[in-house]
Amino acid sequence: MAWRDDWRRVRAIARKDLTTELRTKAGFNGVAALGVTILILLGLALGPDGAALRNAAVGAVWLATLFAGVLAFNRSFQVELESGALEPLLQYPGPRWTIFAGKLLGNLVFVTAMVAIVVAAGVVLFGVGIPATWPTLVGVIALGVVGLVVLGTFYASMSSRSRAREVLLPMLLFPMLVPVLLGATTASKALLGADLMHEAGAWIRLLAAYDLVFLIATFVAFEHVIES
């Protein structure tokens, strides 16, 4: 009973966020287009050398995901702050973790869709061959996305309410995501090289452990953080 109410809250929040994103159009298309644009800029800035580019492709894809993702997280709480909707949100009865779970769910859907587009663009633009191990690669991407979304949503819940939100979120988030970035790029590279399966395995375990640890830690911490 209580669980059903909570689940209804979680869904309501996720649905509201996704509706807003779709409604504002820029929301999804914009973030995805931005991811692709960043990818292209990275390609341009790193120079015209084909082999070097292919080498940098994986890193570029993850960086583009990261930068575009930050925008999504900030938006997700900013929508609450415009015209003071956060106060009513906090004033509803029901446990606070439902708010975090709802935001998390919305962001997860959003970022997953965006990553699909950025990865596709990366494959095309940088001429990356799809390896036989692609299901594992999808797993790596999923683990990376979860890590990104969990910490991104958590930090955005604070930064968006501070002065200087646009700046504070990446400042807090980027250093924390170093393991995700390294794990995801290195594992992806190994899988694309289609050789060092063992190497990828270690990184995948690291990513999974990372996701689990921070999923638990952020759920515990959120209740303290959301109070004003």
Binding site: I13, K16, R23, G84, E87, P88, Y92
Partner: protein, 229 residues
């Protein structure tokens, strides 16, 4: 829901709140009995909104306690939220959702059935624009929609922060019927306002906030020739 001590719907005692180094509330004590409507008055910046926000569990006091139906607003915040209906200065709506979507969201969060949504929209007179986005709403339409949220369920305690502002005559009647409805079911209301005129007849007594405390010397404006301004 409420436990035994329900002879006081709102019980605020020795409340202190500071922002930075400045103390806005300095030991405010007030009580509202069930069935009673109390007007909270005071100059701009005197701390009316701050009191309402503390009772609504949105702000933590630095000293003193506040209780709603015997429940402490800090320790039993979740239980308090289930009993309190709060209308703020700002409407707190999602601009890119329609009026109906905004209310549906509130119903989901309150655990109310979806059927109450349309009734509530009808009641505040926004049924005609139910499927328009809030972004283009006028000031009064936004206030009405915020108000519609309070019609979704029947709280036992109403906290209204200058509810009459931006509303036309029909909107003023809405507020009064909201308050009247709560009082009839034995609930209580604390209403911050500057001018008693629109609420005339509904407010049982007024309290005036001066220097962070309820001023005992100020006359209870109700019953007196209460025209303000």
């Amino acid at each position: 829901m409420s436990n035994g001590q329900s002879d006081r719907a709102i019980d605020v005692s020795g409340l202190g709140k500071r922002f930075g180094a400045r103390w806005v509330l300095r030991g405010t004590t007030l009580a509202v009995r069930p069935g009673e409507v109390v007007g909270l008055m005071g100059q701009n910046g005197s701390g009316k909104s701050t009191i309402l926000r503390i009772v609504a569990t949105l702000l933590k006091p630095n000293a003193g306690t506040a209780q709603v139906n015997g429940l402490n607003v800090v320790r039993d915040a979740t239980a308090v939220r289930a009993q309190v209906g709060y209308l703020a200065h700002t409407p707190g709506l999602y601009d890119d959702l329609t009026a109906r979507e905004n209310l549906k969201f509130a119903a989901d969060m309150l655990g109310m059935p979806a059927t109450v949504v349309d009734a509530s929209l009808e009641r505040v007179g926004l049924a005609r624009v139910a499927h328009e986005r809030v972004r283009g709403f006028s000031a009064g339409m936004e206030r009405r929609l915020a108000l519609a949220r309070l019609f979704l369920r029947t709280p036992t305690v109403l906290l209204l922060d200058e509810p009459y502002s931006n509303l036309d005559a029909a909107g003023v009647e809405l507020i009064n019927s909201l308050i009247g409805g709560i009082v009839r079911t034995g609930g209580a209301a604390l209403v911050a306002l500057h001018e008693l005129a629109p609420a005339r007849g509904l407010i049982d007594r007024t309290l005036t906030l001066v220097e962070g405390r309820i001023d005992a010397a100020r006359p209870n404006l109700v019953g007196a020739a209460a025209g303000v301004a």
